[in-house]
Symmetry: C2
Amino acid sequence: MDGKRILVQKFGGTSVADTEKIKNVARRIAETRSKGYHVVAVISALGDTTDRLVELAYQITPRPRAREMDMLLATGEQISVALLSMAMHELGHEAISFTGAQVGIVTDSAHTKAKILDVKVGRILEELEKGSVVIVAGFQGVSLDDQITTRGRGGSDTTAVARAAALGAEVCEIYTDVDGVYTADPRLVPEARKLSRLSYEEMLEMAATGARVLQLRSVEFARNYGVVIHVRSSFSQEEGTWITEEDERMEKAIISGVTHDVSEAKVTVFDVPDRPGVAAALFKALAAENINVDMIIQNVSENQRTDISFTVSKEDLQKAEEITARVAEELGAGGVSVDRDIAKVSLVGAGMRTHPGVAADMFAALAENDINIEMISTSTIKISCVIRAEDVEKAVRAIHAKFGLDRGVVMRA
Amino acid sequence: MDGKRILVQKFGGTSVADTEKIKNVARRIAETRSKGYHVVAVISALGDTTDRLVELAYQITPRPRAREMDMLLATGEQISVALLSMAMHELGHEAISFTGAQVGIVTDSAHTKAKILDVKVGRILEELEKGSVVIVAGFQGVSLDDQITTRGRGGSDTTAVARAAALGAEVCEIYTDVDGVYTADPRLVPEARKLSRLSYEEMLEMAATGARVLQLRSVEFARNYGVVIHVRSSFSQEEGTWITEEDERMEKAIISGVTHDVSEAKVTVFDVPDRPGVAAALFKALAAENINVDMIIQNVSENQRTDISFTVSKEDLQKAEEITARVAEELGAGGVSVDRDIAKVSLVGAGMRTHPGVAADMFAALAENDINIEMISTSTIKISCVIRAEDVEKAVRAIHAKFGLDRGVVMRA
């Protein structure tokens, strides 16, 4: 390469909602180039294209196969990369668009939720050297047997970060419709503040517990490969939130933020024999069907019998319920129930490690507002509580206020 | 293979205009399978998808580059192959969809009008052997350097025929919105009759002179590889028109039909020095820019000067005019004029070879209706006349009546 630094810029669906917005994106890429960077742009399908394609599929069949869904959905991005490339040409910049297959995003064969196996960069580097902006599709790839795969919604964040890692890019900028990561969802908490910097660990917990700004896997990838992420708005020039290694210059906040998630449901198996291998049998069966289980709680045993509760994404609920019912019968359990009306509220902050009172304060905030806690799960830098879905807004506001997040940063001792 | 015969079925844009029509196509393929055939379906983009994509491109730039247009337009077919595959699954049939690149339609790099270099069949045969219907995109391919290419509108007919040839298919069925090839365009001549059988040569001349039912290149391909074509309607079970080698069983009609074409324009170079190499210089320059010239007329020379007129597609007119003006100046010609208001009306029939009076009768039909003939071009089985565009309907009706095409087949002696 010619010594110029590489910047990966990822634009989500709202940033390329229509042709006018595509032109805006082209102008932003042109500005970045004028600062002396090589730019690799990763983009998603135009606005509601994916929804429209999904609708077409369901007009044909209630059970579209995953392989054909990938074939179908990959077209949305192919349209947007071609249009953005044209928009760059119109601004007088050299540019070339590529599908996932063409630039070697090699994945496994798990259609609609494929995992990246390899990221080839030869063709991209070649085009960058020629002076072109390289525009690549975000959430699609190609399997080893030459099938088109997609990586699920949000997959393009991970593709962008994987690209940035493979190319040794200086920064991976993720453009979205909000201007960064907040201490809570501003739609619920108007006083929420934008965070200027977060460590990978904090962002991982935020993403895992409901912050929608970045996809979890993309943050894991960034941490594993040391890719600096800058989350920012495509509609303003303001700095957003930087996600980096935890370092000395970082704000020493105890708490980063409060997150919430209403996308999960709870499954409970009653009256299970409490002997070795019971939990293994259940969760192995769920894992075999690619169902991600989030929180797991096992009650204290009584008379060699116990209850096991766990949460899964509502999308997977039907399948999870079927599998659980089958395993419960095999195990001689009393029964299975599901509960869709739950919410998870979480508190995330690296400073928790050295501040033992945080959990107690969070529980107090909920108690003071008559909010019952149904499940609890903790990590070194996170506490999550499952509560009733109807209490979620009240809970987020109460916790946000309890830790003074609206008043400014609570610094570590 | 398992000895089952292969049928290639090609469905145009109107046959797959919406999801209901796609389900119809799926049912027709299912019927064909139930008759014991392996089916390879070649399909186009849904209804107006291509137009919508072109519109998006022009919202971005008035000069979209051909490579990016191909990237963009290829998505239309990818959507329809995926949806048709889902529709087959819904009917309980195994099916798999492929892009042009995936099933090895290898083309040159002439984006938006790529020519087929190679048609690979390995992957298709593999899937047919597994018992699947194979559904492939029609007008797209992949160049040797792994770029997505398209073959221009109508290119999917040729792809279907090329596939049929490579697979040794029994028949290549071309489904369209009309139920066959007619003695004239039924919109102009309500009395026009459907032809049950045509030789390749007749169909070639019909296609070359304006019959829109089949693309010229697809018929050439069919003739060169002996592929039997059956043109029929996707909305009825009736037999359409068979295109085959001329053989003994064929109707010995003198005339197959009357065609017309208003898509061409006439360019005239005045007062050109009449010496060797003049025509070569002009038409070599046009060919170098990929401009197809149809009819060429050179006047009788006077004082070593002459006029040359030729017709080209209106799409190519601007470029043709520029090139002609340049060459005309180099040659010291008097000037160049263009005329967009022309039409070409043609009479096609294998029986002409042995019936010398046909041309005279055609000219008489035009004269009787006060229609002036501006250019004439003949082959052994075709006569074309360029006339004023405003006279085209009258001319087609007059010729159709003159040869009694509305009354039934005029048999050869």
